[in-house]
């Protein structure tokens, strides 16, 4: 599959390129930031804002918790390979004050992170369909576990 054919599994949720980032909606009235993108009425109960701009979220955060999927999830999950290969997931706390889920980067498992581990956003192939590679955001540990424990 050629590099050029790769495109996001969902449009408008994240940028690609060397420094990819999640795209969020920011309420121009109160500054609350919403991911996934949300435009309409601000969900802050004390804010009557209805205007949003698009902002890139911090590319680094810390692990709030983590797990993996040892059995193939049911549809609409599309397995990346046959036979199925388990993958790991992390809920990551961003400096903007909220938690975003994502898979861990390819090659990383639950043994590679702890609550509090620093991770960075990367974009990788989620699966491949008839039009090419479909990409998704993932979380990649910034430091190896042993290295972190030494600090």
């Amino acid at each position: 599959m050629s590099e050029a054919a790769a495109r996001p599994a969902i449009e408008g949720w994240f940028t690609t390129g060397p420094e990819p980032a999640l795209l969020a909606s920011r309420c121009t009235t109160c500054g609350s930031v919403f991911f996934p993108r949300y435009e309409g009425f601000c969900r802050n109960p004390g804010c009557d804002g209805e205007e949003f701009d698009v902002t890139e979220l911090s590319r680094r955060g810390t692990v709030w918790s983590y797990t993996d999927a040892q059995y193939q999830p049911p549809p609409p999950y599309v397995p990346a390979s046959d036979p199925y290969v388990p993958f790991a997931l992390a809920a990551v706390e961003l400096p903007e004050g909220f938690v975003v889920l994502g898979q861990l980067a390819s090659g990383y498992g639950v043994a590679d992170v702890r609550v509090g581990t620093e991770v960075e956003l990367v974009v990788e192939t989620l699966h491949t369909d008839e039009t090419g590679d479909r990409t998704i955001w993932r979380w990649k540990p910034v430091t190896e576990l042993g290295e972190e424990a030494d600090q």
């Binding site: 969902i10 109160c30 996934p36 797990t67 999927a69 049911p74 609409p76 999950y77 889920l101 989620l126």
Partner: protein, 401 residues
């Protein structure tokens, strides 16, 4: 204190269930079975019920969407007012609250609340079709995030923050399996060892297959009346509903919740002092004027073993991070200081969504009456239930005798 009454109490005159299992029958037959059992238990004739509330089941076609009327028709139309509630796992509490509110408003005297379900095998997968604006669809498509995945996030956090172990989680299963051994309505009535749990496959690390509850068919029903009605029928001290907490979260909800991909932002507004789950119990205690120190037993939603430990803390039965200590000391076993899930919990029942919160109320009622044969908590005076429905539905019912 707990013996005192206030003008917001309603009486539980009858409770009934259809045993949990995989029976392959229609949900209506389970619901009617439970309703008739509750009516028999109450001594109230169906013709005297003037309000019926059904817990909606979303997997059983149109009859499930209008469950209140479906059960009313199956019991034989009696002209009662009707309502149907849906609040995911919290459906039963919301249905009960509707009945209680109507009784307290003086708009009815006798209400029948029924929940019943027939559930599919395996993972609960989202509805079919491509739905790019539905988080429940997107979490599977984009992340492969299953329900056990969320339970596992909470479990792992307990391990990293509080030193919980997979053996602790297994011990919850062992305890609940033992509690449910003699419960005639439980689906699984078999001793389980820590080794059995540890030897079962890991589904979502750190949770094993036996840490995660199954889905079941089942039904539960409750007959609620005004205190006046109970008195006129010779019941001077029935079990009473003291509080029904159906609170929603407070923005920003910063704990990741199934089926969402993210939390609310604390960018502009700081999170409330209590998390959503803590606020569910707090609202019940406040409404009842009863504190956690008065609680004799708790029925909590152990979708996973580890979640039982979370709920103990969320209900303020112990401090944050201490649930494992109570578990290890045997405090949460029947005979201990604060028995949790004396019914056997979801570990022994499996989940029948619209019936489950009502099943918790049935169990607490039997416990408070001293009728929980083979699993009775001695001198039970106050019981609390806890559960959370997807999409922001709190559920806690506080009962006393």
């Amino acid at each position: 204190m707990t013996g005192s009454s206030n003008d917001r109490d309603v009486a539980v005159l009858g409770v009934g269930m259809h045993p949990w299992g995989k029976w392959g029958k229609h949900f209506v037959s389970y619901g009617v079975h439970a309703a008739r059992a509750a009516l028999r238990d109450s001594g109230v004739a169906w013709e005297d019920v003037d309000f019926i509330v059904g817990g909606e089941t979303v997997r059983n076609g149109y009859g499930g969407y209008v469950a209140g009327a479906t059960f009313a028709q199956a019991l034989g139309w009696n002209g009662a007012r009707v309502a149907t509630s849906y609040a995911a796992c919290a459906t039963g509490a919301q249905a009960l609250d509707a009945a209680r509110a109507r009784i307290l408003a003086g708009l009815c005297e006798v209400a029948l609340v029924v929940g019943a379900d027939t559930t599919p095998k395996g993972f609960l997968a989202p509805n079919a079709g491509e739905r790019w604006d539905d988080p429940d669809w997107l979490r599977f498509r984009l992340l492969g995030m299953t329900n056990p995945g969320y339970f596992a996030l909470y479990a792992r956090r307990r391990m990293d923050l509080y030193g919980a172990t997979q053996e602790d989680f297994a011990s919850v299963k062992v305890k609940n399996a033992r509690h449910g051994l003699g419960n005639p309505n439980a689906r699984y009535r078999k001793e389980v060892t820590v080794q059995d749990v540890m030897d079962s496959a890991v589904v979502s690390d750190p949770l094993h297959l036996l840490d995660i509850c199954a889905t079941s068919d089942g039904a539960a029903a409750v007959v609620l009346t005004s205190m006046d009605y109970a008195k006129r029928h010779g019941l001077t001290s029935p079990v009473r509903v003291r509080a029904v907490s159906t609170v929603t979260p407070t923005f920003p909800q910063t704990v990741i919740d199934m089926p969402l991909l993210s939390t609310d932002p604390a960018t502009a507004v700081a999170p409330a002092e209590l998390t959503f789950k803590q606020s569910i119990g707090a609202a019940a205690y406040e409404e009842a004027g009863i504190g956690p120190e008065d609680v004799s037993l708790a029925e909590v939603y152990d979708l996973s073993t580890a979640l039982e430990l979370d709920w103990m803390e969320d209900l303020a039965l112990c401090q944050q991070g201490e649930a494992e200590h109570l578990l290890r000391a045997g405090d949460t076993t029947i005979g201990g200081r604060i028995p949790v899930n004396p019914s056997g919990g979801l570990a022994c029942f499996g989940e029948a969504v619209p019936a489950q919160a009502l099943a918790q109320v049935c169990e607490v009622t039997w416990q408070l009456r001293g009728q929980a044969q083979g699993r009775q908590v001695e001198n039970a005076r106050v019981g609390i239930t806890a559960n959370q429905g997807l999409f922001g539905h709190g559920s806690s019912v506080l009962l006393s005798r």
